[in-house]
């Protein structure tokens, strides 16, 4: 039984979101993300479940890497509950739900360190996180945060943008090679890549805004 999922395949194990997205697509002719956001802010239970299905793995993984599995369970729960209760304060103009959730997670992690009596400056956090992440290729709380925010955002990009960026990030392919491998016109690869990257950057900025 698999206990982990690749970020790029997030849609696959999360039947939840695929199904919800199907409903969303058939229920709203245009922007499905905006529709889901609207449902979430309006307080519909199904929307919370869909948001959890989409972002739960990223939030849990982030917390798990930072504070360990036991605390991560409580923390993940707190993040979604507080997001739900504060849903009216979510401002879509500042970024996506995913970026917002990751920002909340980051603040909760800092809180949990504070409760544990540690100083709150990030250098101190880094040491703790670093110890927990031995063997990982990231060595600070901030880089863990960046990595998780970006992975989470990548997973929710439109399929084609995600595929193009995945090939560029970890396949080390050039735009030309991606065009050849995917059969997409070079112009499409360029514009998908650009749009996807701008979205990732926006998500990173969103996660830095204090929640």
């Amino acid at each position: 039984m698999t206990s982990a999922v690749l970020a790029r395949d997030l849609d696959a194990p999360s039947d939840a979101f695929c199904e919800y997205r199907h409903v969303v697509l058939t229920s709203s002719s245009e922007n499905p993300e905006a529709w889901l956001r609207a449902k979430f802010v309006a307080g519909e239970a199904d929307a919370l479940a869909a948001v959890y299905a989409e972002h739960g793995p990223a939030v849990y993984t982030y917390a798990n890497r930072a504070v360990g599995a036991e605390k991560a369970k409580d923390l993940t729960q707190e993040v979604f509950l507080s997001a739900w209760r504060a849903r009216h304060s979510f401002n879509p103009e500042r970024g996506s739900l995913g970026g917002w959730l990751m920002g909340i997670t980051k603040n909760r992690l800092i809180d949990s360190y504070r409760k544990a009596g540690r100083r709150v400056d990030e250098a101190e956090l880094s040491d703790t996180v670093q110890a927990r992440m031995a063997g990982d290729d990231h060595h600070s709380f901030q880089s863990l945060t960046d990595r998780m925010v970006l992975s989470s955002a990548l997973a929710t990009l439109p399929d084609r943008q995600r595929e193009v960026l995945t090939l560029a990030f970890w396949g080390d392919r050039t735009q030309q090679q991606i065009a050849e491998e995917t059969g997409l016109p070079l112009g499409t690869v360029k514009s998908d890549m650009r749009r996807g990257l701008l979205r990732l950057r926006a998500e990173l900025e969103q996660s830095d805004v204090p929640q």
Binding site: P13, D46, T61, D137, M193
Partner: protein, 212 residues
């Protein structure tokens, strides 16, 4: 997309440069290996649902508007397996009374209504020597159903991804866990309200649940 004037071409080249710079930056912040997400344990979502019991979302009052399982409708089990499980459960539920003494109770699950948290009885897991059974003792009625509805008993894994039907349920009884299935791996006992629509998958409308 015309590049017929110099300005358009310059703009396009500037965009290209910016894109590649951004690509490098994001690549270094993402790391050399593709990130892997851990699957969150099911108890997290169950905890969220439980906590929301005191502050319910607007739609959760409607029992047909569902719980998390609505989001995790089972798709992976082949229809044949499910129908087989249902048939086996019905057949063996009849025969189980004759099995006799060589049984051991290996666990007990307190059942509760998902919406209200009210106690609903217990499910006792029994090792029979030839497999496992669930003995369901309900402390109250499941409630009336329409002609085209029925209640169904399930065991579900903690990822809320894999599940087996133990067949329709109307009242107390003994239900056979499909051969080779260990309830410890599928520790969530769930009773759902199903539509008689020929779709063997969990319909998402869980009514009663408990976890081993």
């Amino acid at each position: 997309m015309s590049h017929s004037n110099g300005f358009g071409l310059e703009e396009s080249e500037a965009n290209d440069r910016e894109t590649l710079e951004l690509l490098d930056e994001m690549k270094s912040r993402l790391g050399a290996t593709q990130p892997v997400f851990d699957a969150p344990p099911a108890e997290i979502w169950m905890g969220i649902e439980a906590a929301l019991g005191a502050d319910p979302p607007d739609a959760i009052h409607d029992p047909t508007v569902t719980t998390s399982l609505d989001q995790y409708r089972k798709r992976r089990r082949p229809v044949g397996v499910l129908l087989g499980a249902i048939a086996a459960a019905v057949l063996v539920a009849v025969a189980i009374g004759e099995i006799g003494d060589s049984t051991t109770t290996i666990g007990r699950v307190d059942l509760a209504a998902l919406e209200t948290g009210d106690a609903y009885g217990t499910a006792t897991v029994v090792e029979t020597g030839s497999g496992q059974t669930l003995q369901i003792e309900l402390s109250r009625d499941l409630g009336a159903v329409a002609d085209d509805e029925f209640y169904e008993l399930w065991v579900i894994d903690t990822n809320v991804e894999g599940m087996y039907s133990l067949g329709p349920i109307t009242a107390d009884g003994t239900f056979v866990v499909p051969d080779g299935v260990d309830v410890h791996e599928f520790p969530i006992v769930d009773i759902s309200l199903e539509q008689d629509d020929g779709d063997p998958a969990h319909g998402g409308a869980s009514v009663v649940r408990g976890q081993l």
